[in-house]
Assembly symmetry: C2
Homo-oligomer: 172 residues x 2
DNA sequence: TATCATATGTTATAGCATAACAGGTCAAGC
DNA sequence: GCTTGACCTGTTATGCTATAACATATGATA
């Protein structure tokens, strides 16, 4: 029931991450380039499976289930069992190159690798699109609430469900 | 892999929701009383299964997996198949009497039913405790970020992972 | 009392995720 | 060179989470 099964209007998967048309080849290249400059220093080892996994996420430009990624990897000669995909995805998430979208049981490439960001995700229930936005103020507000009860925050997940600009007003 | 399997220190499940000892019978009663006043008006129909499900969540005072709730229900003569638990839990969530904690694939009773609140959850990785806090400022910050890209937020999930006061400083 | 909406229960199955083990690669140090 | 250890990849097997589809019951209403 991730993001790829039933009520998937023709637009799904397109215009997703940005809710707007854009130079996707460019934004994908940007991310890869940034990752390239990060890898050596930050102790990130982009092995073939990991790199390919990241590329697959960037190509689809939306949230993908682990098994969907696995299918792609297997078709390209990598292992065909779940741990192959989960390990690569977990590694990317662990190192800030991808995010896990819990509401969708899915994963998406990070659009701002390297920036120490606290992303907020917007999931459109109309087109299944996904947008990632930096949200330092949100993080600050959460920290404040945590401080009030003496809790120390290590990781934060903020996901919203609603309608993107394109899907509003059309009963979607 | 919810919150009840392996590294579960003896304290788990205790002192959970509040990260502090408290009059649990009291807080449980409070919630039930508030629910009672809500039910008639708000179109909430607390059938036996639903009521019992809510009570079970309140008793354990922590996040519970659906199958864990199901075991309890089955032992008390209710249906023994997954949909029984999921339907009751979904209903409670839908009507604001419980929350789904996605990071744990689990559910927890709402501690502030009726208040139109936007809760933030704090999950302690030391003792698996769970705290719910109102966080209007967080909601506001998220709305602001959403507005910037024209997204309209319908539901919001904010979960954090970290250490509760009791687990800090003891290498937990 | 017939009808519709809602609720409960069932069987069966789909979808997500990890444990545990085996083999391979590569660099550090003897 | 060779051994050792860290890390990566791959496998088999299994477990946990969740829902679809169908059957029965109950209660309000026309």
């Amino acid at each position: 029931m991730a993001s790829r099964k039933k009520p998937e209007p023709a637009t799904a998967g397109q215009g997703a991450l940005a809710f707007a048309s854009h130079d996707h080849a460019g934004c994908r290249g940007d991310v890869l380039a940034r990752v390239a400059t990060l890898s050596p220093g930050a102790g990130i080892r982009l092995t073939p499976v990991r790199r390919r996994t990241l590329e697959i996420l960037l190509e689809s430009h939306r949230a993908m289930g682990a098994y969907e990624v696995l299918d792609r990897l297997a078709a390209e000669g990598f292992g065909s069992q779940p741990p192959v995909a989960y390990r690569a995805l977990d590694y990317l998430v662990e190192h800030g190159l991808a995010h896990r979208i819990r509401r969708l049981n899915a994963f998406a490439a990070c659009m701002n690798p390297g920036d120490d960001h606290s992303p907020v995700f917007f999931i459109c229930k109309g087109c299944n699109g996904l947008a990632e936005a930096p949200a330092r103020p949100v993080r600050a507000a959460v920290e404040a609430a945590a401080g009030a009860i003496g809790f120390s925050v290590e990781r934060m997940t903020v996901e919203t469900l609603g309608l993107c600009p394109g899907c509003q007003g059309q009963g979607a």
